[in-house]
């Protein structure tokens, strides 16, 4: 679709402000046959997301995955499904016309990681360094 020279205009490379893709919008050619292609994208996204959801729920109490690794498997299924949603439902790509959206997402991802992993890291060490309540009682008594 994107390689069609008439729809891309004269200069194909570089970030073109006037050609930026709207966040969440599919690429620009909306005629009859691209409707079929768009429907196919949504169906692929739905099927893949459903498979990953089923996999996540089936990992509870499964013996197919090494026991201590099940949690990590669920995390991987979840992250993969977020990727499916971004690609097939939100039409996010790394194409030049989508660079602004992808960069904003990358920044959001950075902040999310800082907040979640930073909090867990700090609070784990705080708990680790605190005197357990039982010892505190012993000291008082």
């Amino acid at each position: 679709m994107n390689t069609d020279p008439t729809s891309r205009g004269r200069t194909a490379a570089g970030s073109r402000v006037g050609e930026d893709r709207v966040a969440g919008a599919p690429s620009r050619t909306l005629d009859e046959d691209s409707l079929g292609a768009e429907l196919r994208r949504y169906v692929i996204g739905l099927v893949l997301s459903a498979l990953l959801t089923v996999a996540a729920f089936l990992s509870v109490g499964t013996h197919l995955i090494y026991g201590p690794g099940i949690v990590m498997a669920v995390v991987v299924f979840g992250l993969a499904q977020v990727g499916m949603h971004l690609v097939f439902f939100l039409h996010l790509t790394t194409a030049p016309d989508n660079a602004n959206n992808a960069l904003a997402l990358a920044f959001g991802f950075l902040i999310v990681c800082l907040i979640v992993f930073g909090s867990i890291w700090i609070m784990y060490h705080l708990n680790h360094n605190m005197i357990p309540p039982r010892e505190l009682m012993d000291m008082r008594g």
């Binding site: 004269r10 200069t11 570089g14 970030s15 073109r16 402000v17 006037g18 050609e19 930026d20 893709r21 709207v22 966040a23 969440g24 919008a25 599919p26 909306l30 409707l35 768009e38 429907l39 949504y42 996204g45 739905l46 997301s49 459903a50 959801t53 996540a56 729920f57 990992s59 509870v60 109490g61 099940i70 949690v71 669920v74 995390v75 299924f77 979840g78 499904q81 977020v82 949603h85 971004l86 439902f89 939100l90 602004n100 959206n101 904003a104 997402l105 920044f107 959001g108 902040i111 999310v112 907040i115 979640v116 930073g118 909090s119 867990i120 609070m123």
Partner: protein
Amino acid sequence: MSAPSTALRAGRDPYHLGHGADAGVPEFSGHGGGGPAPKGIVVGYGFWIFILSDVVMFSAFFAAYAVLLDARAGGPGPRELFDLHMTAIETACLLLSSFTCGLASMAVGARSLLWTELALLVTGLLGTAFIGIEISEFARLVERGAGPTHSGFLSAFFTLVGCHGVHVSCGLLWLGTMMAQFAAKGFRENICHRYLCFSLFWHALDIIWVGIFSGVYVIGVITG
């Protein structure tokens, strides 16, 4: 002092702000050439930034939940409280509603009022089913004494999942508004921009829910 003033005197725009071809820069170089971006792109990008800030807010609630997971005050943990069958149904509702929201986007692109309203109606019904199941789950928890006041873990749980539920409820209100506006005003440009923001919002809610059902429910039941 000299550089900008001489440039202005020469009638040139030193930073090529909006005079692409005249100033001799390649057209649409990404430096403001070609004028400001169309309204649809500005609206969509702005709303995308809002969605990301919403995701950042949810990440703070996720972090609070992860930190407070063991603060149970002698009360029940995830394994005793969560019913994964209900969570699976909720997940199916929200995933399907995200799909039908995509179908509605296609119908808006094709300017078909009937299909737009139909797809939005299905989206709304699935979203309502999701909210109904969630409310009944919350009621069940409060009934058995595991309300948000019981422990730090339950406070964090109700805050995180409840905040998502509030978002879905607001999304349902917005969805009803969009259905009415498409019916009353048709596919005007600003209505279509508004719908684009709504579809972004709805897909983002499903992405948040992926984090909640895997991180809170499934992993909660696995690790106890």
